[in-house]
């Protein structure tokens, strides 16, 4: 009997999250464990005059207090080679501040006690003395000569410049009938998962193996980073993933605390636990997105796009963390989007400021670039008196033109049908009717608008994933993979692939992703890669088993049918799958894939308060092939919900002294069910030839076009003059009210 799971909306088992049986890292306890509390900088920039730990150390129950003087002079490394430059190592973060603090929240000391609250009491008694220094808090002026330097020994606040060029830009601008230029700004915001970060480290006194619970996302890399920083072999470090209450890019990168907690467990010979509190989370966990762009677009009078120039300043915060220059690189790679440009030039700068370091958040770089480009395309459509949909129709890359490459840049679109996807979004929205409704409501005095955005999304980043399929004694199989589970449903989707390829029921397959000791290597869960990379690796591992069976049966592999736990030859001869040993697969993916997406939003503004309400919101995404349409819909809807928060509510604010103003969930306003419409999700399935399963990424796309579509809808509602002044996010009520005032 065969099993068909790929493409089926198999329900995943969420019961542990619903019935309270989930085991988060905070729920893991080890005998004799101690608790750590991190002492953080209360100022944004200062020379540390002294750190006096005597009083804290004298408190009952306090075991130790460490400062920079107690730890080796190590730095947290960069994870991806593409995110590193010859200079980036100069800006890496030490686990504890040495001599200078550079952002509010930077770790200065760690107090360890027998009880978490005693540790917190004692942490308040660590006496800090500072010489306060000037603060860099603006991305554009950060790179100007004469500005205070975040790392003076490097002589610059510029971490990196990413140049991308395609075609003859000057010549294209010279031919233009119209050129529009503006400054656009995306604000600082971030993921804020409901479960904060947490860690528990323990050293097995017999084997010397260090186990770290609370790993996520990229546990193999974190193991490698810890190995280098702690000076112990990778084989003596084991990272364990627990149930996770949200990741979205920020959870699971190696942070200062990963090193500190492991270091303390090794030094003290006892388990050490640390659970981040919400206020810490808002200053310690990666921030994202803040950047300003000077964008210039050239077009013909009949609405053919010719070229663009983009110069951008992308905030890296006070240090370059494990994601290196991605905050500057990813917007550059996404600025062209799905359009037939004749030429472009991009120059993005990663700059340092005295604020929490920046990493990636769902849809990184692409969300920012899409806002900048799509806002300017709407401005252009307005200037040319074109329907903004028609402007895009005239310029989307046609399916017959794929694969499309903007050589010499690395941007290549291998598959899809962008115009068909865009039309489907408009059809599903009932675009013509929607415009009539909008006009009728406007005639009644309502302030309503329609906006949309089209974009490309990078996903399926390599370099590779491996998978092992191991028979279980009970006749089932365990599939070990190196990706992580952050609530995406990856266990379900990978089990569907493995079960179908093995020809066994899903109940017979367990996906094991949680322990670095079970698989030598793995790159993790980011860049919408888990299904593409681990799914294809699993398919190859099943293929490996089929090959073994073929050898035993003496027939070509293609003739072997896997079903009902047996590998069967055309003759009817068969061997049990469980007798074939382990299946192993490795899927290499040297180049990332781009896929197409689009979003459309209908919004209303309350003119009396400036509040934006999203009335309808649609997102469309080409996933290549949907392994589990229901889970994919939820992923896209969840990402769109975060995009709505980013567009109209959420912002990490700082004052002029670098003090964070959004350190509570009361001040950092995430959307609740009351602020969200039912999100309409459209899945496009245009398989890619770049992998055997034909899949593309899908976990982030709902975010990417959402802020842009909402911003364009708000601008549409505001009308020509006020709409043209909409240059920055988020569109909070006070900002929208400001746009409603006569200029």
């Amino acid at each position: 009997m065969t099993y068909s799971y790929i493409g089926a909306s198999v329900e995943r088992d969420d019961s542990p999250f619903l019935d309270g049986s989930a085991c988060y890292v905070a729920d893991v306890d080890r005998e004799g464990q101690l608790y750590a509390r991190v002492v953080r900088s209360p100022v944004a920039h200062a020379r540390i005059v002294s750190v006096d730990v005597a009083e804290a150390l004298a408190q009952p129950g306090v075991i130790t207090v460490i400062t920079a003087a107690d730890v080796p002079d190590v730095r947290i490394p960069i994870r991806l080679p593409m995110a590193e430059t010859p200079d980036t190592h100069k800006f890496l973060q030490p686990p504890l501040a040495r001599e200078v603090v550079r952002y509010v929240g930077e770790p200065i000391a760690v107090v360890v006690a027998g009880d978490p609250y005693l540790a917190e009491d004692a942490a308040e008694l660590v006496d800090l003395e500072f010489d306060e220094l000037d603060v860099v808090n603006d991305v554009v002026s950060a790179a100007c000569a004469g500005t205070t330097l975040v790392h003076p020994e490097t002589g610059t606040n510029l971490v990196a410049t990413v140049p991308l060029a395609f075609g003859e830009v000057e010549e294209a601008f010279a031919r233009a009938d119209i050129v529009l230029r503006d400054r656009l700004r995306v604000h600082r915001h971030t993921a804020v998962p409901m479960e904060t970060r947490g860690l528990l480290a323990e050293v097995d006194q017999g084997t010397g193996v260090l186990t770290l619970w609370g790993a996520a996302k990229v546990k193999h890399f974190t193991r490698q980073a810890l190995s280098g920083m702690l000076g112990i072999g990778r084989d003596r470090i084991r990272l364990v993933e627990n149930h996770v209450g949200g990741g979205f890019g920020v959870r699971g990168e190696p942070y200062p605390e990963d090193y500190l907690i492991a270091f303390l467990a090794l030094r003290l010979g006892r388990p050490v636990k640390w659970i981040e509190d919400r206020v810490e989370h808002f200053v310690a966990t990666n921030h994202a997105r803040e950047q300003e762009h000077d964008f210039e677009v050239a077009a013909t009078a009949d609405g053919r796009l010719l070229a663009f120039r983009d110069r951008a300043w992308c905030d890296q915060g006070a240090y370059v963390r494990s994601q290196g220059i991605l905050p500057a690189l990813l917007p550059a790679l996404h600025m062209p989007g799905p359009y037939r440009w004749q030429a472009f030039s991009v120059e993005t700068h990663g700059v340092l400021t005295h604020r929490t370091p920046v990493g990636t958040y769902r849809g990184p770089g692409m969300t920012e670039a899409t806002f900048v480009r799509e806002r300017m395309l709407d401005r252009l459509a307005h200037e040319l008196r074109l329907d903004p949909a028609d402007l895009r129709r005239r310029n989307l890359i046609e399916s017959g033109q794929l694969p499309w490459s903007f050589k010499p840049t690395p941007i290549t679109y291998e598959s899809g049908d962008f115009p068909a996807g865009f039309e489907r979004l408009l059809d599903q929205a009932g675009y013509a009717d929607l415009r009539e409704q909008r006009d009728a409501r406007r005639a009644r005095g309502e302030c309503v608008g329609i906006g949309f955005a089209a974009y490309t999304e990078i996903g399926g980043i390599g370099p590779f994933e491996e998978a092992r399929i191991v028979p279980r004694p009970d006749g089932g199989f365990v599939a070990h993979v190196g990706v992580g589970s952050l609530g995406q449903g990856v266990e379900t989707v990978l089990a569907q692939i493995a079960a179908e390829k093995l020809g066994v029921p899903m109940e017979a397959v367990t996906i094991d992703h949680h322990d670095t000791s079970e698989l030598a290597d793995g790159f993790g869960a980011f860049a919408s890669r888990a299904t593409t990379l681990a799914g294809n690796a699993l398919a190859l591992a099943a293929e490996d088993l089929r090959g073994r069976a073929a050898a035993k049966l003496g027939v070509p592999s293609a003739d072997v049918r896997l079903s009902g736990g047996q590998a069967t030859a055309p003759s009817g001869a068969s061997v049990p799958l469980a007798d074939l040993g382990e299946g192993w697969g490795r899927f290499d993916k040297p180049h990332p894939s781009f896929s197409f997406g689009a979003a459309l939003s209908l919004i209303a503004i309350d003119p009396g308060t400036g509040q934006v309400r999203v009335l309808r919101h649609l997102v469309l995404h080409d996933v290549g092939r949907a392994i589990n349409p229901k889970l994919l819909r939820r992923q896209l809807a969840g990402a769109a919900a975060q995009g709505i928060g980013a567009a109209v509510l959420e912002e990490l604010l700082y004052d002029e002294y670098g003090q964070p103003l959004s350190t509570l969930l009361a001040d950092y306003r995430m959307p609740t069910v009351e602020e969200l419409p039912d999100i309409e999700v459209i899945i496009e399935e245009r398989p890619t030839p770049a992998n055997p399963l034909g899949v593309k990424g899908g976990g982030e796309s709902g975010m990417v076009g959402t802020p842009a579509a909402i911003a364009n809808a708000v601008a549409d509602a505001l009308g020509a003059a006020a709409g043209a002044r909409l240059w920055r996010l988020p569109l909070t009520p006070d900002r929208v009210r400001e746009l409603l005032r006569p200029a």
Partner: protein, 287 residues
């Protein structure tokens, strides 16, 4: 504990609570629903030496309506106000305001006394108490002290209550005939602290002209403020579009909101105009 260390006691009578408070000194705090104090403790922004839990004190949860007006006990939960059908007509603003406080679980625990004694400038109930000319009743070993709402609030998170005084409730005076009230606020999300709010009580003549109006504004100063000029301009007028707009304009022009990162002063002033206009329009249109 997550909060800084404190001593906890749970008295069984008001007299015991007062003597505990007197003993504990000025760093002690009463706690009822804990919906403001507990977060402040968890953030270590409040460091009381003692917490005196008044949840079990008898007689403080009364909600009584009589010929002398309305008595609201300090332990009346927001949800009790929200669910009380009798709070209509002249008392409607009280019910509407209670329903807008935080989220439902917060309203189940939070108390009238806690919210008013906490005196957050963005809180709803102090604004209603100001519009309705309530009198707060504070008890100490010296007996009861009556404090008009106009004197009760001393600044952001500050009242004139003495450390050993316990707020036991408030009396809302009986309204004149043909008095109605409404409450309006704006918060960026449902349940958030409001950027601005207004409570309006309005008494009309038989012919519908305004006999008197009391308009209190929240979120635009350290304490709730009255919009005196707006109240005056309505005197003797029908609630025409013009009168409503003029009152709204004067309410906005007459307040002096502070600026913060979430809502600037000019924006808060615009919100006041919008909210006062909406409140008066509802008083005109709704029975």
């Amino acid at each position: 504990m997550k909060p800084p260390p404190f001593a906890y006691c749970r008295p069984a009578s008001v007299a015991e609570a007062l003597s505990l408070a007197a003993e504990a000194g000025e760093d002690a705090k009463f706690i009822a629903g804990g919906q403001s104090l507990m977060p402040l403790l968890a953030l270590r922004m409040s460091r009381p030496s003692h917490l005196i839990d008044i949840n079990r004190l008898p007689g403080l949860a009364d909600l009584r309506q009589g010929s002398d007006g309305l008595h609201v006990g300090a332990l009346v939960r927001h949800a009790a106000l929200e669910r009380c059908d009798r709070l209509s007509g002249p008392w409607r603003a009280l019910r509407e305001a209670a329903a807008l406080i935080g989220h439902y679980p917060i309203r189940l625990r939070g108390t009238f006394g806690g919210s008013t004694a906490h005196a957050d400038p963005s809180a709803e109930l102090p604004v209603v108490a100001t519009a309705m000319n309530a009198t707060f009743i504070a008890r100490s070993s010296q007996g009861d002290r009556e404090i008009p709402a106009s004197d009760f609030f001393a600044g952001p998170l500050m009242t004139v209550l003495e450390p050993a005084e316990l707020l036991i409730g408030a009396r809302f005076p009986a309204p004149a005939p043909r008095t109605r009230s409404v409450f309006e606020e704006f918060s960026p999300r449902a349940g958030d602290f409001a950027f601005a709010s207004t409570a309006v009580t309005l008494t009309t003549h038989d012919d519908g002209r305004v006999r008197s109006a009391r308009i209190a504004l929240g979120g635009v100063g350290a304490v709730p403020v009255r919009a005196g000029e707006a109240e005056n301009v309505l005197q003797g007028e029908h609630l025409t579009d013009g009168a409503v707009r003029e009152a709204a304009r004067r309410a906005a022009a007459g307040c002096d909101p502070s600026h913060d990162a979430h809502a600037g002063a000019a924006y808060r002033r615009e919100l006041i105009a919008t909210l006062v206009e909406r409140a008066l329009a509802r008083l005109r249109e709704e029975p």
